[in-house]
Symmetry: C2
Subunit: 287 residues, 2 copies
């Protein structure tokens, strides 16, 4: 292997397996159709034990994704036990990404889904991005109300069908930026491939609305907006254009694994940052 | 297993493997991100040997998909040999779907892609649909020019990220139809999840344009339009509304595995069919 990143893999009903074990058959719909969902969060060693960030919230969102797809999901206790098994086997760094994956299982099988998790060391590049990231806007192709009344488009579902997100990340890299931020066909900011956009302006902390936009309900953004009032900020969910965003007092990309990353540049234009506000947002997010 | 469908699985570099063998690890990007592509065609026993329909064209399209994703693909000879190995092991029905799958491989691996194929008996429901199918239109969320200048959206790439297509099929079933037909946000017919739409009106045989629409370049539609002139038809690629489509002399969904399926109803409204034209379209398609 070119790169030997630390990783533990555990399968529902089997426990920890050797890394590299083939899990999905050639008939698995997660593999052949991206027909499944996942969720991910951060695991950290806090000096005494392993802390899984917001596991309940992530299991709840995984359950909403599974329900939207009509795929049965093991109960929370089974997942919590599997996470425990994986952490027991973990010999790696103090920070790891926990990814929980569910597929519809074999297309011509008995309907048993495939469920597994991976624990992977958080890479240095992602850790470095917590100090600041540059982003470019990329059209996502959908209108900001494109998911209204169209549940088959699976808005808000954290799908395994993520190829466009990965492709947009490659495009952003090619343009010299760290991450893309998707925009709607009617010119609004949506989300980044694995993060929500949060911004502060004139004492109002805001993020983009879920629902008709089809964006994911970010657990990080929910926590940050949920606790904003105690810091004297008003919280708001609303649409914003890239031009408005560029006028904000501070902008962050927030996600469970990377945490809070101040956006330092948008489409090549330097953005204002606010270290004190970033500390507050981090405290609200939990790290 | 509830349903014991005939299937053979063969892996690039390994040959035929036991059905159910785990092929994708928990770190495989095809599995965790739908980051990969596939192509599919029909295999038939013609009385003397196995006929793989348009294998060259499907390998060419698979190569275009792989190139768009930047994933290395084995050469045609290796695929042709693998198909031969699978057919040698095939003990099943006279008709099978050949699916060739390529993923980016392990996220934290050495960059080796995963390539495999499956050969699966064509099910009776699909065979029955060749006699006629009912469809409902479902908005896809994109404008008909939504993919213009946005290569990161991967228009025309036969992605493993197919969950929305599968979900739309479930929605169509729930509405009592056989298949959905996607429409653009500006009101045009695009394609079905695994078929192109072809229609005949006043001696003009037409299908929807690729490119800015993001739809797949259908090999079946290309063959049908390519040979139309010898039957006195003019061939055209153009946008059409569902209302216009309902006024056609005949409408078909065409795909490599299902072949030519006359559309008998669109959004609950009965459509004209034309048996003679269907025979001609089938001849142009090769079966």
């Amino acid at each position: 292997m070119a790169e030997r990143v630390q990783q533990v893999v555990a399968v529902m009903g089997r426990g920890v397996v050797d890394r590299g074990t083939g899990l999905a058959s050639g008939d698995d719909l997660g593999l052949t159709r991206g027909d499944g969902c996942f969720d991910a969060t951060l695991v950290r060693w806090d000096g005494e034990g392993w802390l899984v960030h917001d596991l309940d919230e992530h299991l709840e969102r995984l359950r909403r994704s599974a329900d939207a797809l009509g795929i049965p999901l093991a109960d929370d206790d089974a997942w919590i036990e599997l996470v425990g098994d994986a952490l027991e086997a973990w010999q790696g760094a103090d920070e790891a990404a926990l990814k929980m994956v569910l597929t519809r299982g074999d297309e011509h099988g008995d309907g048993t889904p495939l469920a597994f998790l991976t624990l992977t060391a958080v890479d240095e590049r992602m850790q470095a991005q917590r100090a600041g990231i540059s982003v470019v806007t990329l059209p996502r192709g959908y209108a900001s109300d494109g998911f209204e009344g169209a549940p088959w488009l699976l808005g808000g579902v954290k799908l395994l069908s993520y190829a466009v997100h990965v492709s947009a990340k490659r495009e952003a890299s090619a343009r010299g930026a760290d991450d893309p931020v998707f925009t709607s066909s009617d010119g609004y900011v949506l989300e980044a491939p694995t993060s929500a956009v949060v911004w502060l302006r004139g004492g109002v902390i805001a993020t983009t609305p879920t629902g008709a936009t089809g964006i994911l309900d970010s657990i990080s953004a929910r926590k940050i907006l949920g606790g904003a009032e105690q810091h004297g900020w008003r919280a708001e969910r609303r649409l914003v254009t890239p031009a408005e965003l560029a006028e904000a007092d501070a902008v962050w990309l927030v996600s469970s694994v990377r945490g809070v990353a101040p956006v330092t540049a948008l489409d090549g234009r330097a953005l204002r940052t606010d270290d004190e506000a970033t500390r507050t947002v981090r405290a609200l997010n939990g790290f």
